[in-house]
Amino acid sequence: MLEFNNVSYSYHTRSGETAAVCGLSFKVERGQFVSVIGPSGCGKSTILSLAAGLISPSSGSIKRKSDMGYMLQKDALFEWRTVEQNLFLPLEIKGKNTPEMRKRAVALAQKYGLGDFLKKSPSQLSGGMRQRAALIRTLAAEPEMLLLDEPFSALDYQTRLEVCDDVQAIIKSEKKTALLVTHDISEAIALSDKVTVLSSRPAHVLAEHDIDFASTPKERRNDPRFAGTFEVLRKELGI
């Protein structure tokens, strides 16, 4: 579904060159939920920009689907549109703005508890609801794969747990493939099938862990193996 092969990427500024990613290889299989964790400033967002095709690698190759949905740290809902019109935005841009697609987007919103808010302005929604609307917007154009750039980090702790569980449930039940970058170890363990640990900049893969105990984020957090996995990842990150 997505494959990085020995990918390197450098930023160029007047004052010099910064290697953000160096010799990075990893794979995301269809239907998998993969998290990438790493120390802050290690170039995690660069990896998503590369995966989304917003930037091209300096060297190496990336095999990717053209059809990706990108979910950002901030919900970026357009205030001048109703929630419903926000959901239709990717349809309009990708030329998929047909009555069936709109109907499907609305059905998705209703299924995941946004039904009563469709005609409201985003400013009338709570932070958690806004992020949920952002996810439905990402799903509306029916992308094959989702890229999640720390989508929960702007939320307060309680909302974060709640939305995090919701998002995982929605992505799983819609059978989507997802790549999440985060600096939050427990979030990565709770959500993913596989956790990829990155080194500090320039980023490359230090270790990969398949997580297969329990199934929902809630059960995982309560599972005795959670703490052990957390310790392993914490040591690998060097914190």
């Binding site: 990108y70 970026a76 990717p90 309009e92 890229l147």
Partner: protein, 267 residues
């Protein structure tokens, strides 16, 4: 409408708010009326010379006589038409140029010093050139109005376009939107508050432009009356025209403010 039932404390709070608002309006009117009254009384008792300073009653008399001579609405109409045409042209041209500059980073870099210099240039310096190039009359005055306000329209709109949220731009890019789609779906609607602000600024500048243009060369209009009144020492005419300008400019500003209130509710 649902009738809300408030606690005693909340009702007292609302009452206090209302009183405060009423007081502000009352004092506003009082200042205006007091100033007019003092002006009138000083002129009446010849403390000040009404030939030089005019007086409220003489201003009213002048306006009535302009009306009787059937020149009042003609002059108002001329200045309004110049101001409005210039205003509309400046806003449209300013918006278009700002869009072009937003589209091209190179164009922005190249043209920046020109815009800065043109912005600081006192436009009245171009008066003689305008007369020679375009002639006198309506077109020349409209042209003056446009050059007075267009640069600020460009700068204001461009600033509005450039301040669009970076996350939203990334989102558009990630969805595969091109420059034009980003412009129409994101930048134009997101900069609506900046557009309204531009309209407000342009209204004020357009009045400056049209009156200035009429000073330089004109056969009619409120600026023409002011300039003529000054030359023949008819200060009543100067004051009356100025008073009318005040009312018209305020009215135009209020209309724009009202449009703003209706359109930018959700921002």
């Amino acid at each position: 409408m649902k009738k809300e039932i408030y606690s005693r404390e909340h009702r007292a709070y609302l009452k206090k708010l209302k009183l405060k608002r009423a007081l502000v309006i009352l004092v506003r009117w009082f200042i205006l009326l007091a100033a007019l009254a003092v002006w009138e009384i000083l002129a009446l008792f010849k403390v000040i010379d009404p030939f030089i300073t005019s007086s409220p009653s003489r201003v009213v008399k002048t306006i009535v006589s302009l009306y009787r001579e059937k020149t009042l609405f003609y002059n108002i109409g001329v200045t309004l038409a110049e101001t409005f045409t210039g205003f509309a042209a400046a806003v449209i041209i300013g918006y278009a140029v700002a869009v072009a500059l937003w589209m091209s980073e190179t164009a922005r870099a190249v043209l920046e010093p020109y815009i800065v210099v043109l912005n600081s240039l006192p436009k009245i310096a171009l008066g003689p050139l305008i007369i020679i190039w375009i002639g006198t009359g309506y077109t020349a005055i409209v042209f003056m109005t446009v050059i007075v306000s267009v640069i600020l329209c460009i700068m204001n709109m461009l600033a509005g376009f450039m301040s669009v949220d970076e996350t939203k731009l990334t989102l558009m890019k990630a969805m595969g939107a091109g420059k034009l789609t980003t412009l129409t779906k994101l930048v134009v609607p997101a900069s609506l508050p900046a557009f309204m602000n531009t309209l407000k600024v342009a209204v004020g500048l357009s009045w400056i432009g049209s009156v200035m243009g009429e000073y330089i060369s004109s056969k009619a209009g409120l600026g023409n009356l002011i300039s003529y009144g000054g030359q023949v020492m008819r200060l009543d005419l100067v004051m009356a025209s100025t008073a009318i300008l005040c009312v018209l400019a305020a009215a135009m500003y209020l209309i724009v403010a009202l449009i703003e209130r209706i359109t930018v509710k959700q921002y």
